[in-house]
């Protein structure tokens, strides 16, 4: 029950007027960001990050994570009312959410979406509260080889388990790792890959790249598609809310199943999208009348939303406990930690108790307050969508530029942002995934340091990665995941062999 006492301490940290106000501001900004076409969780957090540079780390992370919760809630609004998923993981919500809106049951669908998001997050936060401290204290015993093995596991699981073409994931990841190495080498102090260009000595800042890759490229893509926004009006009354909540216990199996899927996939990287589809598909498979899915069934909103949010929240678990982000947004929050002068990793739980438990407490409070806000203010946020895109687009561009400049006070970074905007646009169009790039860029130098420190410790012997049971099993698991596609083909072939013999015999 130590976690419980620490959590109470976290609430104490939180309950000051300033932090509560920042929370509210963060949530409202987040919902705006989630509702606006062409923006979403990672973009919003990246663009609004500079606002927090002058704050203390606790206020900063509370505000940023609230932006994130707000964006998660906001994504559901556009999926249901406008059939435009704000995020890739809201796609599954449109399957049944939009038909419900067309049938005039928009309020019901929205309430269902918000409530199930809330439940999903809550389950994941409970998991974080009771699991993260344990994992972190376990990870305190990690040396460089163990850390490198965990990084390797993260990278390999992206390549092996990702749905995109393997070589494209690999390209994205190598590019991120390479760009992370630009500038001063932290161990030898030598300059690398700068070609004598002084602007590159500082290295390529992770956040600048993210703002370009997600923010600018998203504007280019939205402009290209020329979104015509035509949505359904919605106003949520208390009666509808209570009615949906009364029905809630009937769907406990779906909610529980989706939460479990979400938590599991959130901890392994890149999971929220997969989680939402898996939640939806499993709910459909176990349902008695499969035909009614896709035609406006409330369960079809519950299942993907719960899973997506459980996964979006659970993605913060590896970030807090190990310093390894489970999603793009978590990676940006991690970048934020470094800007505020904190060293992400298991030591956070020891050295910055206020910060960690303040953050965890804010996840509880932020989700409750967020639920109340979105339930009561949907009409306000849908009105945002009537503001012409021609007014919103340039404002987003300006915010991106401000964000990129503020990180290092360098004009060069604004140009870099523009370049990454083009890269992001092209990569998205030829489906090179951006998440591995983001992850590699933020973890690159730490992974390399871990590798080289373990090499220095072991005198250049690669067997250090199998030197004890722990590091050995992580490394082996990483390699298995990397070659998973090959192994599964092999396994399928082995299984087919007796099957092909049988008809002959």
């Amino acid at each position: 029950m130590e976690a419980f006492g620490l959590l109470l301490h976290g609430f104490q940290v939180l309950l000051t007027f300033k932090i509560l106000a920042l929370m509210l501001v963060g949530l409202v900004l987040g919902v705006f960001v989630g509702v606006l076409p062409g923006l979403g969780g990672p973009n919003g957090v990246a663009i609004l990050l500079p606002l927090t540079f002058t704050m203390d780390p606790t206020s900063a992370i509370v505000m940023l994570s609230c932006i994130y919760w707000g964006a998660l809630f906001g994504g559901a609004i556009t999926s249901i009312l406008f059939n435009i998923p704000g995020e890739a993981w809201s796609v599954a919500t449109t399957f049944d959410g939009h038909p419900m809106a067309q049938q005039g049951r928009a309020a019901e669908a929205l309430t269902a979406a918000f409530t199930s998001s809330f439940i999903g997050s809550l389950v994941a936060v409970l998991l974080i509260t009771f699991l993260a401290p344990g994992i972190a204290s376990f990870a305190l015993r990690f040396g460089p080889p163990e850390f490198f093995a965990v990084y390797l596991l993260t990278f390999c699981s992206f390549v092996g388990l990702g749905k995109e073409d393997k070589h494209k994931t690999l390209i994205s990841m190598c590019l991120g790792l390479l760009l992370a190495g630009v500038g001063m080498d932290t161990i030898s102090g030598q300059l690398r890959m700068t070609f004598g260009w002084s602007e590159l000595f500082r290295g390529i800042n992770f956040l600048v790249a993210v703002i370009g890759l997600f923010g600018i490229s998203e504007i280019l893509l939205t402009m290209e598609e020329r979104l015509a926004l035509r949505g359904h009006a919605a106003r949520i009354s208390l009666r509808v809310v209570l009615q949906v909540w009364r029905e809630l216990p009937r769907y406990w199996v779906t909610l529980l199943r989706s939460s479990a899927i979400g938590c599991w996939l959130g901890i392994t990287p890149g999971g929220a999208i997969a989680a939402s589809f898996m939640g939806y598909n499993l709910a459909k498979r176990f349902a008695r009348d499969k035909e009614s899915f896709g035609k406006g069934r409330i369960e079809g909103v519950f299942a993907p939303e719960t899973a997506a949010h459980a996964s979006g929240t659970a993605a913060l678990l590896p970030m807090l406990a190990l310093g390894i982000p489970g999603s793009g947004t978590a990676a940006i929050l991690l970048g934020g930690l470094m800007v505020w002068g904190l060293n992400p990793g298991p030591l956070l739980f020891v050295e910055h108790k206020d910060f960690v438990w303040g953050l965890i407490a804010s996840m509880y409070l932020g989700n409750v307050v967020g639920l109340v806000i979105v339930l009561s203010t949907v009409p306000l946020f849908t009105a945002v969508l009537r503001v012409p895109f021609a007014a919103i687009a340039p404002m987003i561009i300006v915010s991106c530029a401000i964000g990129a400049y503020a990180i290092q006070n360098a004009m060069f970074d604004i140009w870099l942002m523009l370049l990454f905007g083009i890269v992001g646009y092209v990569f998205k169009k030829i489906s090179i995934p951006l998440a591995p790039f983001t992850l590699a860029l933020v973890l690159g130098s730490r992974a390399e340091d871990a590798f080289r420190l373990s090499m220095i410790g072991a005198g250049g012997d690669v067997r250090v990665f199998w030197s004890n049971g722990l590091v050995g099993s992580i490394t082996t698991l990483a390699l298995v995941l990397l070659f998973w596609p090959l192994l599964s083909i092999l396994a399928a072939r082995l299984r087919r062999m007796p099957a092909s013999i049988r008809p002959a015999g």
Partner: protein, 181 residues
Amino acid sequence: MSPPHEGATPQEGTGAAGGEDRAVMSRRSADIAVSIALLGLAALLGWDNWRTGISWASDGPRPGYFPFYLSVILAAASLYGLVKALLEHAAARDAFVTRAQLGRVMQVFVPTLLFCLLTQWLGIYVASFLLVAGFMWRVGRIALWKSLLTSFIFALSMFITFQIVFDVIMPKGPLEALLGY
């Protein structure tokens, strides 16, 4: 008030989305072009790291070791992508970007480029005023006074937020100097 700065909107927003919207580039060509560019980048970075030193010193790998092998993997993956794209069937060649799409993308890209240029001389607040007003007026076809008013309020609120409340340093130009900031 100076007029909005982008005179370079290449195509009107009314460009037909229908039948004769030809592809400027096929997806396959884009795949090939990106693969070649990445190969080039991998070669450049690989060469630079080779020069830094890719061998093992007495105390472990030299600085170029890690990135050198990454560039080798990058080169291999891009080469694979290149070959795959070259062998792709002609039937699978859908459009990377059509003419109308490219026009619309340029409508936002060119003003953004100009905005970045202007930020260097005029500071970010004046440049953002010009960008928002110009974009709303020319691309969005919104009445001039509405565009000017909206963008003035936007630029002013940005200035108050960052300069006065949060005290974040931003590129500033002659106008801010005139006002004493």
